[in-house]
Structure formats: structure tokens, C-alpha cells
Symmetry: C2
Subunit: 450 residues, 2 copies
Amino acid sequence: MRFDLTKEFLEELNRAIHNQDQNWIRENILELHYADIAEIIDNVQMDGARFIYFSLSEDTQADVLMELDEEVRDRFFNSLSSKEMAGQLENLDSDDAADILGELSEEKIQEVISQMEDDEAAEDIVDLLNYDEDTAGGLMQKEFIQAKLDWPVNRCLVELRRQAEDVEKVYTIYVVDDYNKLVGLLSLKRLLFADPKTKIRDLYNAKNVISLKTSDESEEVVRIIEKYDLVAVPVVDLQGKLVGRITIDDVVDIIKEEADRDFQLASGISEKIELNSSVWRISRARLPWLIIGMLGGILGAQVISGFEVGISQVPALAFFIPLITAMGGNVGVQSSAIVVQSLAKGNDLFGTVRTRLAKETTVALLNGVMLATLVYGIAYLFGNIQLGIVVSVSLFVVIFFAAIFGTLIPLLLDRYNIDPALATGPFVTTLNDVLGLFIYFSVGMLLYHM
Amino acid sequence: MRFDLTKEFLEELNRAIHNQDQNWIRENILELHYADIAEIIDNVQMDGARFIYFSLSEDTQADVLMELDEEVRDRFFNSLSSKEMAGQLENLDSDDAADILGELSEEKIQEVISQMEDDEAAEDIVDLLNYDEDTAGGLMQKEFIQAKLDWPVNRCLVELRRQAEDVEKVYTIYVVDDYNKLVGLLSLKRLLFADPKTKIRDLYNAKNVISLKTSDESEEVVRIIEKYDLVAVPVVDLQGKLVGRITIDDVVDIIKEEADRDFQLASGISEKIELNSSVWRISRARLPWLIIGMLGGILGAQVISGFEVGISQVPALAFFIPLITAMGGNVGVQSSAIVVQSLAKGNDLFGTVRTRLAKETTVALLNGVMLATLVYGIAYLFGNIQLGIVVSVSLFVVIFFAAIFGTLIPLLLDRYNIDPALATGPFVTTLNDVLGLFIYFSVGMLLYHM
């Protein structure tokens, strides 16, 4: 039942596209799952994509469009005429339609909207475009199923059948009062087993109804859906009126994107880039950290130059500069990683900052002693005992301070509303480099009696 | 409707716990959502946790137990007697019960299982314990709703009502043949609007049924649920018989865990740790990278010592050692981050390795020229032109090679089935440190004519 895209399949497909072989497409593609068809389209040229896409039924087109690689989708969608765009949008869920449309210019949006024949769908999309895309309003869809308190079950079934045509995935029915205010939930399971004459009022669940406001930020959307284990959550406006719902598949996408962004931020990439982003964009996203790192390096050079006399007397001191900076950086990044992750989960760690620090310093002392002993042992084997003492003592001190800064800096950044994921990148490493050098050479001067 | 845990609430609660005030608990806690109750229990002492927990109804207990912080849950569960444990397990979904039980020793598991009164539940749990926890079998639950092909809708409703008592969240009904083989799906929506006499055979959907095998690995589970936008997926055994289902809330947890693990791996932490892990465990998880980093540092010292004569002649050369190693590390990490992310998404990049390299080297040349110019400019301002040339030329070369290694190393690791996320940590930085030093001093010797 599961489809795997092979090289052979792609070769046959490209031949079929070249020969405009509708039969081959019908036999080998049309029956596949839309996610598989999307994967196929991701891997062919634009003319092939059009050929396959327009062989599909309207419903499948909509599903496939939303499964395409974002970059392929934008390219494909932009290759359509305004008339074709309007037709495609009418098949989509309102949130998906608004997402795609939101990528276009204002004039183009107006042009496409004016071409749409389904006024209600057009209105829904225009409405959604008003919300900031990082809020519950921007994430919600207008397709959901609602029932009024006073309906009996049989009336409800009739109404639902009508509504359900537009709604692909039905999990829960939202119960509203006469003013369209959300008052509770009704599971399909409950409805299925109910007597036809029972009123919704006597069936629905008004306890612990979790909803979001249109203005809630996407982090809050993720937090709520995760915390309450929801597959869909209703969205209400300022008056408490039901205006949309957010489903978990959209939330999974947000979770993935945020994890990606944190990973990139911690790797020193300052804006979201993908494999396919342009060289300019990639270059621009990377420069900020590189420049910070370079300024840190110049600061480090200043520190070392302060010990120039020492180096000219004992040039071997210079040998272990990279060891000291690398270890300071490593320990700092390790310490901050755990703090950053906990902060990302919404834990407020500032109250427990002392416990955190106590633990981190214990770990640092432990690892510091082990590594310092190891490096002293190596120096001893090479017969340079005095230098071994300098390196091992300063390594120990550097590890200790790196752990403290690695813990404190993300907490401080978070306090001042700067994304703490930045900390595992530039801040901690640069600071620890400079500090580590200062410690190393100070210890060296001291022990060499210079 | 949404609850926020405040300091004041906790203070009142602790007073109520201290006074064993059942009334306060009833009025302020019992009506809350189970996720909120779990959050409250996470934040009180063990005796308070027990007091609150055993005031709850059995159903709520089960929900709360699964929402607790993992560490709190283990501690709480271990504080129960075998008899109490058995009672709690009977209320849980089979997959959750197996997860909790799996943490105990073999003898303890036997003891608890023997105390369970519900034989069917016990059997389900024992069955699930046989599967590796990182496979679909280990992730699935035994609670799902199935219907036979030959049932008419009204018989189906009766059977479903019976089955549905055990199944908390019903999304889809799984249709099986007489041998219990999964043959298709039936949505509740469809069933809701069907004529009572219609046979399931004429209602169900046999097309594109996505299922998993018990032996499928958790990565495959995530990939399938994500790709096909599922909220639940049926699991079949080797014979194609329906044995369980996996729901999306469990998959969201896996996605989060994998993202956390990648982030930690890239930060140089070699085994999964949490804020609450013991000092020993944290220390052990961090040592491997620190030791690799230290060996890299010693290798770097060897390289520099080869240029000892040069340093004693021009001690200023030592000043820019940290700048060179930091920049090599930074560029390497940036280059590998994107590759690691794409590999994690299941993209096979080895086919496009040339395109990747071409792009990375272009970005590197671009950034290299800018940064080299910048550093030369700074050196010029400080009046040390010859040193400025050495630093800027070698910086340019180092950035170039760091980008190449940063791209190639994760690809190679992936080729040999080593987690490429390791690359953004130790491998790339250490290699680039050593290589960078060699380039820097070679350029220095050359330009100073030593």
C-alpha cells in the first residue's frame, strides 16, 4: 500500500510526460495517495508538474498542492494565470488558501480574489488575510462544524451533513449559543449513540472547554495544543464568538519549524534558510555571527598582545591557546544547551537559578578535574612539567567559568526577551574565548614568575 | 477557562495540603482540566501529590498520571505499593501502561501484573512489553475501534458503543475481514449519515489505506504520520492482522524528543539528559566531546610547536590564533547545520553533493572576501600592515576549507550510518581548528619569508 519513489519510476514517468501519455499517468499515478503524488511532482520539471497536476481530480489537486515542497509550490502556483489561481484556491481549506495567497503582491491578491466565483470562500480568505500570520487568527481555518444548543439530535444531523461537506476532518462539533458564542463541545461518538429527539443542550460538554483567541501567538497555540493533547482547538474572537479552528497537522509543522530555527540559531545562522535559499540570502544569514566572532577574535588578540613579553620568553605558551579557547567554548555551549531547551519548553528558570548554578558548577568541577589531570598527564609524558601545570590549572579555571557563563547568559537573554537560543551560538563562545585567554596567560605569567 | 498556576495559588494549596483540607481541593482543583491538575502536582511535594491524586476520580487519575513530568511520574509511581500500581495501570491506555511498567525491574513487573484484576488489560500490556520501544509495536496502543465487513450499520453501532467505552479518542473505524486482516477505513462522519441497513462493505474506504508494521522503526512512524497528515495510524502484524494503533499525540512527543536530541548532540552532549538528570549522568554525557576537543587542542599545540621558531621571531603571530580557530569553527558549524537538517528530513543529499559544494564554496568566497577585507582594514588602522595581510589571507583560505569540510563531513557520517548531527559538534570544529592553524602559520612563514 505504501509507495516508494524509485529512479526507474521517475525514468518511466519522464518518458510518459515527454510523450504526453495520459494512459500511463492514469494507471500509475492517479490512484496513489495525494502525499505520494506530491512527492512525485516535487521531483519533475515544471511542464511535467503541470501535466500531472491537471490530470488530477479537483479534490486531489487541492490536497496535492498543500503537500508540495514549499519552494516547488510557490513556483508552480506562480506559473498559473490569475483565473487558474482563483480556481485552485476555491478547492483549498481557507487557511491554506490564505497562506498561499499571502505570498503574492497586494495587486495580485486583489486580482485573484476578484476572479473567484465562490463568494463565501473568497470572503473567508480575505478575512483570514487580516490576521498576523503568527497568531491563532492567522493559523486558523474557517471550516469547522457547529451546532446550536437548542437543536435536537436529528436536526443536528441534517445540518451537520450540510456543513460536513466542506470540512475534511471532523473531530469534534463546536456547540454555540444564539449569539454564536462558543459554549461547549460535542464528540461525534456521543452524537452517534444519542437518541434523535435529545437536545444538544442535554448532550454537550461544557466543562473544561479549551479555546484560543485570534490574537494568541503561535507559541501559545503550540503550548495549548500540546499541553491539552488536542487534535483541534476552536478559536474565538474578542467577544467569545466562534470564528475558526486550528488542527494539529498545522501545529506539527510549527513545532518542526521552531525546532529547525533553534538549531540554526544555535549554529550561528541568524535568519531562516533552506537548502534551496539563494547564495545571497545564505551569506547574509551567516555574516552577523561571523562578524561577532571576528570581533571576539580581535579582542582575543588584544588580550594576548598584553602578554607579548611572556610569549617571546616562553613561546611554548602559545601552543595551547587553541586548546584553552576550544574547551571554554565547548563547555559553555554544553551548559547553555540544556538551559536553552528548558526555556524553550516554557519553564521559568529564573527562580531556580541558584540550584542550576550549583549543579552546573559541580559538573564543571568534576569534568574540570578529570580533564586537567589528563592534560597534565600528557604534558608529563612529553617531559614539559611546568607548562603542563600552567595548562592544567588554567584549563580547570576556564571550564569552571565557562559553565557559569554558559548557564547565566541564556537566562539573562531570556529575561530581556532575546531568544536564548542565540546564546549557544555567538555570545557564550566569544565571551569564553576572551575570558579563557586572559585566565590562561595570567596563570602562565604567575607560574613562570614573569 | 484557561488556568494559570500562580504563586498565590500554590501557597493556598500548600496550606490546604498541610491541613488535609478536602474541601479546598474539591472546590479549587477537581474541576480543572487534567493537564492543569498535572501541572499543579508537578509543583508540590510528594505527600501533597498523593493527597491531590487520590482525591481524583479514577479516569482523571489516569489522565493526570500521563501528563506529569516524566521524572515526577516515575517518583510518584515508585512510591505506590504493587497493589496500587496494578490499580492505576488498569485505568491507563495500554501503551501508556506498558511505558510506565517498562521502567521497572523484571521481578517488579511480574509482581504488579499478577496483582491486576482485569485479565484482558494485563494481557494487552504484557503483549506490548514484547516489542522494542522504538518500533511501531512499542508505540502502539491496543485500544482502537474495529468493524467487520459484513456488519450492517446498526449492528456496527451496537458493537461500537461497546468498544468505544475503552477508547478515549475515536477518529476512524478500522474495517477488518473475517481473519482480522485490515482491509480499509470508515470515518465516523460516514457512519453518522448512513442508512442503518447498509453493510459496512458498501460504506468503507479501501483505497490508500496507510498502515504500519509492528517492526517499523519510530523514525518511519513519524515520517508516515507526517507525510500522510494522519491523526492516527493502524498497526498490523506480519500477517497483516490489525493489532493496534498509534495516535498523533504520541508522535508529537517523538518529534519533540528527536529535535531535543539533535540539539544536544550538536551542542556536544552525547546522551539524552534533562534538567533533572543527576550530576554524574550530565558529567558522563559531556565528557566524550570534551575529550575529543582536548585531543584536538593537543594536536593543535603540535602544529603550532612546529612553527616555534617563527613565533619567537614574530610573537605577534600568536595574537590571532584564537581568531583563526574561532572563524574556522564557526563557518564549519554553519555549513554543516543546513546539511544536517536536510538529512534529518530524510533527503538523500549524496546525489547532489556537487551542487551543495558549489553553493557552499560560493557563499564561503563571498563571506571570506568580506571578512578578510574587514580584518585587513582593522589591521591597517592599527598600522600593522604585514600582519594584516597574513591574517586576512589565511582567514580567507580557512573560511574556504571550513565550508568544504562542514559540508562533506555530515554527508560522509550519514553515508556510514553515523548520526550526522554529531558533525556540527566535535568533528567539524576540531578538524577545522587543526587545519586552520596549519594554514595560518604556513601563510605567516611564507609572507614573513621565514
